[in-house]
Structure formats: structure tokens, C-alpha cells
Symmetry: C2
Subunit: 536 residues, 2 copies
């Protein structure tokens, strides 16, 4: 790739439109089957053991053979996966019991894979009557342990609900089942010159129903905004089996309260999403990506302001990361990439544009880069010239998320903060851990790292460690949350509460807000069967 | 203005950025004080008389002098407007009792004008304890009678809550009181190169709290999407006085259920919004507007598809109207404009672009127009060359909404429909009324008209009449609603339910959905004091 500093600007080809990013997530389930169950049992302790403060709620009934019999009577063959040691073993159920980050492990004995909303309704109605707890599950890529059982909750997995129902090329509205894999949906739309207004590292595996249930953010958020604004309708089932059929394809509909908003981001605790109606934007033909090396977080911020000014309506992503995220994380991932800058920088920024006119976009990008160089704001930079280089730049960015699942003991946070203090927490924490002698070659902490979606005020803070350590943990928490509270930040910007963050909600929400959430929960799910031990 | 057909393209100046649209709405209150109360009493009958099926709920207490005494004790001087015949007359209270479209008229004896969230909390807590019904009121520009009392409900008007609290130039996040007038807020942001992602004909009078409570749509919706995606936080008061302090300035915050969404579009029936945190986009410097005359609704649709293709990221509005909306409505408005086309067309389209680069935008617009001419899709067109011409084009569009308040008896509908059948309802209804001999010079119906935000699938259907007529009414309803139901449309796309549409919710929402709304209502407002007789 040519260095930008040489001022030779070459632009990505329009053919980038169908760029194929390598999909680590595709390997999600196979990674389990490659190992023996013994190894795995050693690897990830049961959540009930690692989180002894969580007690099984005795209100919930234990699964019986009558229950299995009922499920088999309402579901098609091969849709009831029971760990009976005959048809399925516990190992077969491990991919549903254990989370992607290998932090949580439940002990469910049955996985249900319905195909239709009626089947979901039958299941939930039965479970509600019987007092059987359930966990809705999509692609199981949750970062906060939300998608796996804690004890013996029944897993209702949506993988078999994977049909696209309709697409209207005039309005760009697509309707589909909740279990459509994000990438498949995006590919379907790509063929029709549209795209999902959402993209994230786990796209090859996560499902649109899971995305909606976590109100996922990701890298297109900066341009297309929140899912809340793009979801036009939902089909959902309440715990008592009531079907809410609101698959509206209208952009505007002000007939009463917008109930679907309650389900968006509810992490499966209020009901199950079975169908989705989504407004999708045109797929823009001209895509460019530039990687910059920068010397300070101030430069990162200034570059962001410049990007908003100069790239304006074509700016489509603005991601940043620090040196240790990249160079320490690198060996933990399977991503194949090369950092195409001559030396290392404390900070990196990846800027993407999407527009409709090659020449116009090139001129805007040129003006942006010229301006940055003139003001001495960047150390160095490269611009992708073809699909391979474009994919390479995004592989670097994707590797950061993947490194978090790389098997190292790790303290992970997904914080929402005002941009000016977004990186201050990394610096402060680094200093604090150094001061207490727990960071560095002698560990236990190895690196305090930060990366994220700067345009959205979203930092992924990761402390890589040799081992989990009580002293280290006590220096990190509640320190991190107090920092967030001080700046009116969010203890979970996009990943959700799940098991991991549920006890920290008070740092971001007042008691009055939490109380109201609780009354919503008991209104919609009076028996508490939906994804218990999570969120509230 | 040059005709486009001559292929001479001249573009709007960047100075259009601060275009000042004439503001009819500013005249809102003065129109009352110019008439005598006698006249007005004759003009608009009390809602309780025109809607005899509505009965005052006997659970609600009638106002006493103790109540007034209490309100005076918690509010600053001049904030309690009581029609005691001494300080204030009934006429003084008319602007608060009567709606802008002069269709509804309540009979409240007191208007409260709090300044702070604590005052609102004190008021609501008291009213809730005492069983006094209230109506939250912003700019009182509601199209469905939502903002005025039906009987003697206490009006809580937010006009005195009009402070901008903070603005962050890096993120574009503004926080302000609910009573800020939309236009004032937009002017404030304009000075800082940002804008409210919302614009509508009533901007000089409606308030951001009212906009949020109606989930208002308007002409920037096409580009910036729904308020639901742009509101980052709300400060609100529940009926029992509980303050929900959620003035988040974060773009992302997934800590639990998104309670603010319940209040957005709730039309004041669940609580009062007192503060708002809003994500605002950059104000783009280059603005253009083109008016086309077209021969069919098919051409309108084709022009829309072309606009999405060719203008893409710079397309900022796409409005259409039919000939009778314009030429019949014209004499009912005070708008000063000239239609700058040589002859009349059955359809008109107004296309606006907003971008950051004058030359780029001009080229995109040129390509768009060339293409339309090449394909014979347009009859004629003009492009605005300066601020005056730009304002003139928008005045035409604004006049359409204003004509609805022009004093003629009128049947008005705000429908959400799939674009392909958006205009079919106008044609079908016209045919139907003609067939039954009620449309034409002999009336009672004069014209069946349609205009709207085509990009959002939003039609404003208006039947101008000489007089209200039972036969005519029975030919229009439920016909219109059955049409909407058939195409899974919305009986109120952006205006809300209020009094006008509340009985029609069943055409757009299933009984299960309506039931769930009702349980939300009784959960949040168990005594039903918030804006009764509306919405549900
Ligand atoms: C490498 C990697 C990168 C990631 N990057 C991002 C990112 O950039 N931004 C981001 O926001 N997230 C990110 N995530 C997190 C995760 O991918 C998202 O939260 C995703 O939306 C989850 O989708 P899923 O289908 O895997 O849901 P799951 O993990 O299966 O479930 C998530 C939650 O939703 C519930 N749920 C799932 N389906 C349904 C349903 N149909 N009805 C009701 N509830 C349901 C579950 O009970 C659970 O609470 C990343 C994860 C990984 C592994
Ligand atoms: C000429 C004209 C053009 C219009 N064009 C459009 C358009 O293009 N798009 C569109 O969507 N609407 C349009 N409207 C309708 C109207 O302007 C909008 O609904 C607007 O959002 C109402 O704001 P307001 O401040 O006037 O609210 P009000 O009319 O005072 O109140 C509206 C509703 O919100 C409630 N409310 C008001 N403030 C609060 C608060 N602080 N807390 C809780 N509840 C509250 C009221 O009780 C009522 O139910 C138009 C109206 C006119 C007169």
C-alpha cells in the first residue's frame, strides 16, 4: 500500500461493494467439537460454581419426561435436543450451554429449536404454566453471558427460524424470521443493492433476533444510527404465549405506545422475538478505507472532528484502537493481517467512507487527508486500493474483538463515555495498576488496552492478565464503574447487562428507573420464567 | 426561475443555510385575541357537546379553591392562570382550551405553567393524590385534539420551561427543557453549525417536548429518521410525581429497558416530559430545492426511485401533492407564494438536497434531472436559485398543511401506507363519492385531496366540504380505515391518536397489542389522571 505521507492517493474500486470479510465467527461451533468434552469441562467451570452468589430459583420446576413429551408433540422431528445420553450427549449440548467467550457455562438438559411463531407460542405457554424457566438464544455470541443458561433453564434456540419473508425494493423494507444470520441477511440485501444498517465482528454467526434483543451497536451505528430507529416492526411472543403481531412495514405509525421498543434490548427477559421488519438503506457503491497512525488521543479526537467536517455525508465508520490492543492482542487471534505502516504508533484510526460517486468521494477524502497533514495531525497513513487491502484493514479492526475471546484471563468492559474522557479511563487505570505494582512483566495484569467506536462514545476497555486475581480485581472494580458514574456514562454501551453487568446497573440508572424496569418485568413476565438471573 | 426544460441549471447559494421560512404558526395565539369571545364561542362548540359519547369520568375530582391555593404555593407568581373572572377570563384561557384546527374545545378553569421539573413533580403528585385529571400541553398544535382538555382537566403548559441546558460541539448533543420551541432550538443549533433532525410546518410554535410526546415526523424524517433513534435521554415525571432522570448524552446505553421509548409518542398519557437530550446532525452548507410538475402518481414513484439512486446520500426531502391540494387549498391560507410552472399538473414533487460540497451536489442534481428528462418522467420543473426562491418553494409545501386549518369543514386523515397504494385511496374515494353523488359543485364534498411525505409512506388525505354531512361521513368512514387495514397501514402515521383517532386503533393494532398498551397505561398511571379520554 502506498504511504499517504507520499501524498499519492489511490482509491478503492467500486467493486468493494461486495467485500467479503473473513468470518472468524463461522468457526464458533466447530471449535467445540474439535476438543474433547473432558478438556472443555476443565476449561470453563459451571456458572453456578464460578458465581456462587447465584442460587437456582426454587420456584422453577425441574424438567420431567412429560415436559419432553409435550415439546416433542408440538415441535417437528429433530427439534428437541435432549441430553439423554442416547440421541444427544451433554457434549452435544455444550455449544448451547457455554458462551463464545468461554466465561459462562450452564447445565441445561434440553434445547428446543422451533420453526414457527406458533411453535414458540406453544412452548412458552406451556413453560409459563408449568413454571419452567427458559433462555432465548440466537447466535450465542453475547459478551455478557446473556445467551446461555445459568442452571438448567431450557434453551429456545432460533437457528431454525431462518427465512426471509419479504423484501420491497421500493422502500427497502425487509421482513424475516428472528433466526436469520446477520451476514446471510446482508448478503441477501447486497444482491438487491441494499444493506443491513448494522455490522459487527460476529456477523457470520449472530442472528437478527439476537441483535435486536441486545440492541446491538457495531460499526455502522455512526452512519445509520440505532436499531431502535430502524426496526419497523416485530413479531414476538410474550411469556404466556400471547403473539404480538406487529410486523409493520411502515416507516411511520403513531397508533399508540411503541411496544416493540420494550423488546428491543430486553435481552430475552420480556418475551421472544420471532419476526423482524427492518428498514434497510441503499448499499452505496463507492467504499474507501484509510488507516492512520497517530501520536495521541487528542489527535484521535481532532481527526474525528475533521472527518465529520470534511467527509460529512459519506463518513461511514470511525474506529480507533491503541497500540497494546493491537500488538498484544494480535497473537491471540486467528486473523490474517499485516499492519501496513512503517512504524508503531500509540493510536490507530480506521476511517471508512461510503458514497455514491467515486470521483466526489475521492475529492472529499483527499481534502480531508490534505487537511490532516497540513495541520500535522497524523503520523502516517495508508489508503486501501483494492478489496484485499480493504479487507486487510478491517481484519485488523476485527481482530481486536476476537482477541478478547482468545483464551487469556481478561477483565472486559464496554463503556459509554463522553468522547473527551473516553480514553482517560484507560490512562488512569494503567497508572493506578502500575502504582500498585500489579501491572507489567511481573503481572498479574499484562496490559490495559482500549479500542472502540469513537463516533458513538463507546470504549471497549480490556485488561489482559496472566490469571484472575483478587487484588487486581479489587483495584479495577468498582474504580471503573465509579469513573463511569462520575461522567454520567454507561456501564454497558452496547453489549448489555446479561449476568456480567446486571449488578452494576445502579451506576448508570437511578433507583426510580430500575424500579420502573422491575415493574415492566413483572407486568410482562409475572412468573419470571424469561431468562432469569440476568439483567435486573 | 428558469424552467428546467430549458436545461439551464442554476444552483442555490450556500447562504441558503440559514433560510428563514415564514412562520404562520407565530400567529397562533394572536388569532384568538383578535376575535371576540362571543364569536369564538359560536365558532367552536365544546368537545363535550360535539362528541356526546364522551362522558366526564366521575372518578375525577372537580377543582376547588384549595387546589388553586396549593398550586399557587408551589409555583412562582403568574404561573397559575385561573379563570376567576378577576385576573383571567375564560377568553384568556381559550388559547389553552381550544386546538389550533378549531375542532376541539375544552372547558378547563386553570392553566399551570411550571418552570422546573420539581414544580411539575409537585403538581402531578398532588393531582394524583387528589384525583385531578390533567392535560400536558406544549405548543398546542396537535392535529388530533390531544393537547386540549375535553372537560375540565387541568392544563399543564410547558411554555415557561424553555431553557437550553447544554450543547456539546464535538458530539452534537444538545440538552434542553421540554418547552423549547422547535424553531428556537433549531436557530440556536444553526449558530453552532448543527440542526434539529426534525422540521415541520408548525415549527414556530410547537415545542420539543410536544414533538417527542407525539413522536412527530415531518420533512427531515426521510434523511434523519425517527425521533426514537435521535432522542438520547429524557427527564420525565410520572403521574405519582416520581422523577425519571435519564438525561443521558450517550449515543449508546444498553443498561436495561429503554423506558424513555414509552414516553415518546405517548401523547401525554403516561407522564410528563420535562427535559430532552437530543443527538443533532451537522448543518449541511449546501442546500437545493427543485419543484417538478408530473402527470401521474406513477411518475411520482419513479421520480422517487431515481432520487434515491442518483441523489442518494444528499437527498434530504421528497414531498408530493396533487393539484386540488394546491389550487383548492391555496385560497384558504395566508402563505404568500407563486407556483413557478407554466401550466398546472396533476402532481407536484418537491425535492430537497443537503450536502457539504456545492460542486458535487450540483453534479449529482444535474445527473438526476437529466435522467428524468431523458426518460420523459417529468412534465416540467424549476430549481431554486436563491433564498427567496427556495423559501417560495417551501411556502407552497407549507401552505398545504395550513389550508387544513383554513376554516373549511374538512375530513382529515394522516395515513401510513405502502407507497404503491399511497395515492390509490385518494382515487378510490374520489370515485366512490362521485358515484354516490356527494362530490362536486353540488357538494357537500368539494374536493378529495392528497399530499404527503412520500419517502415515509405518509399520506395526508383531506376531503374539503361545504358542511359536515352524515351521508358523506358514512361514505368516508369506515371505508378509509378498511382500506388502511387491508394494506396493513397505519390509521395515524405521524399525528397520533388523541381524541380523533383513538377509536380506530383496532384497524392498525391487534387486540393483544391494545391490551398490552392498556396494561402499560394502568401500570404507569393507575388512576388514569394523565390526559384522559385520549389514545386508548
Ligand atoms: C467477536 C465479537 C464481536 C462483537 N462485536 C459487537 C459489536 O461491535 N457491537 C455489539 O453491539 N455487539 C458485539 N458483539 C456482541 C454480540 O455479537 C451481539 O450482542 C449480538 O447482537 C448477539 O446476537 P446473537 O444472535 O449472538 O444473540 P445471543 O448471544 O444468542 O443472545 C443475546 C441476548 O439476546 C437474547 N435473545 C437472542 N435471540 C432472541 C430472540 N429471538 N428473542 C428474544 N431474546 C433473544 C438472549 O437471551 C440474550 O439475552 C460481538 C461479539 C463477538 C463475539
Ligand atoms: C400546520 C401544521 C403542520 C404540521 N405538520 C406536521 C408534520 O409535518 N409532522 C408531524 O408529525 N406533525 C405535524 N403537525 C402536528 C403537530 O405540530 C405535532 O404533532 C407537534 O409535534 C406537536 O407539538 P406541540 O408542542 O404543539 O404539542 P401539543 O400539541 O401541545 O401536544 C401534543 C401532544 O403531546 C402531549 N404533550 C405536549 N407536551 C408534552 C410534555 N412535555 N410531556 C408530555 N406530553 C406532552 C399533549 O398532551 C398532546 O397529547 C403539524 C401541525 C400543524 C398545525
Amino acid at each position: 500500500m502506498p504511504m499517504l505521507s507520499s501524498r499519492i492517493l489511490t482509491l478503492a474500486q467500486p467493486s468493494l461493494r461486495h467485500h467479503a470479510r473473513p468470518l472468524f465467527a463461522r468457526r464458533l461451533y466447530s471449535s467445540y467439537t474439535n476438543s474433547s468434552s473432558d478438556n472443555l469441562a476443565k476449561q470453563v467451570p459451571y456458572t453456578s460454581e464460578s458465581h456462587p452468589h447465584l442460587q437456582r430459583d426454587s420456584r422453577f420446576k425441574k424438567l420431567t419426561s412429560e415436559d419432553i413429551h409435550y415439546f416433542k408433540s408440538v415441535l417437528p422431528p429433530n427439534s428437541v435436543l435432549e441430553a439423554d445420553g442416547v440421541n444427544y450427549t451433554e457434549e452435544d449440548l455444550l455449544p448451547y450451554n457455554q458462551d463464545w467467550f468461554k466465561t459462562y457455562r450452564g447445565n441445561s438438559k434440553v434445547v428446543l429449536k422451533p420453526r414457527t411463531v406458533t411453535e414458540v407460542s406453544d412452548i412458552l405457554k406451556y413453560c409459563n404454566n408449568e413454571g419452567l424457566a427458559v433462555v432465548p438464544q440466537g447466535g450465542n455470541t453475547s459478551v455478557c453471558g446473556a445467551s446461555v443458561p445459568v442452571f438448567d433453564e431450557i434453551v429456545i434456540n432460533t437457528s431454525n427460524m431462518n427465512k426471509i419473508r419479504s423484501f420491497d425494493a421500493l422502500s427497502g423494507v425487509v421482513t424475516c424470521d428472528a433466526g436469520c444470520i446477520l451476514e446471510n441477511l446482508d448478503d441477501y440485501l447486497a444482491e438487491r443493492n441494499y444493506m443491513v444498517p448494522l455490522d459487527l465482528g460476529a456477523k457470520g454467526c449472530c442472528q437478527i433476533g439476537g441483535n435486536i434483543s441486545t440492541n446491538a451497536g457495531g460499526i455502522r451505528f455512526l452512519r445509520y444510527g440505532s436499531l431502535r430507529g430502524n426496526v419497523l416492526g416485530l413479531e414476538a411472543v410474550l411469556p404466556d404465549g400471547t403473539i404480538l403481531d406487529n410486523m409493520s412495514t411502515l416507516r411511520k405509525d403513531n397508533t399508540g405506545y411503541d411496544l416493540k421498543q420494550l423488546l428491543i434490548g430486553a435481552e430475552g427477559t420480556l418475551g421472544m422475538v420471532t419476526g423482524v421488519s427492518l428498514l434497510t438503506p441503499r448499499r452505496l457503491k463507492v467504499i474507501n478505507a484509510v488507516l492512520f497512525g497517530l501520536n495521541s488521543f487528542d489527535q484521535v479526537q481532532e481527526t474525528f472532528v475533521k472527518a465529520k467536517d470534511k467527509l460529512n455525508e459519506i463518513l461511514s465508520a470511525f474506529e480507533f484502537w491503541d497500540e497494546p490492543s493491537l500488538y498484544y492482542g494480535q497473537h491471540l487471534t486467528s486473523k490474517d493481517y499485516r499492519v501496513p505502516l512503517e512504524k508503531k504508533y500509540p493510536f490507530y484510526v480506521l476511517v471508512e467512507t461510503r458514497g455514491s460517486h467515486e470521483e466526489h468521494d475521492r475529492q472529499k477524502l483527499e481534502a480531508f487527508i490534505e487537511d490532516l497533514f497540513d495541520q500535522g495531525q497524523i503520523g502516517d497513513g495508508v489508503i486501501a486500493q483494492d478489496v484485499a487491502q480493504f479487507n486487510n484493514l478491517w481484519s485488523i479492526r476485527d481482530s481486536l474483538g476476537e482477541s478478547w475471546g482468545g483464551g487469556m484471563p481478561m477483565y472486559k468492559y464496554d463503556l459509554g463515555l463522553p468522547v473527551p474522557v473516553l480514553y482517560k479511563i484507560v490512562e488512569n487505570l494503567r497508572e493506578r495498576l502500575q502504582h500498585h505494582g500489579v501491572l507489567g512483566p511481573n503481572g498479574p495484569a499484562k496490559h490495559v488496552t482500549g479500542f472502540g467506536h469513537i463516533g458513538d462514545g463507546n470504549l471497549h476497555l480490556g485488561i489482559f492478565a496472566e490469571r484472575y486475581d483478587d487484588k487486581l480485581a479489587s483495584l479495577i472494580e468498582p474504580y471503573v464503574f465509579e469513573f463511569v458514574e462520575k461522567y454520567n456514562g454507561s456501564v454497558t454501551a452496547e453489549h448489555g447487562l446479561g449476568i456480567k453487568n446486571s449488578t452494576f446497573i445502579g451506576y448508570s440508572k437511578s433507583p426510580a428507573m430500575v424500579n420502573l424496569m422491575r415493574s415492566m418485568k413483572s407486568e410482562l413476565d409475572p412468573k419470571g420464567i424469561m431468562n432469569p438471573y440476568k439483567v435486573l
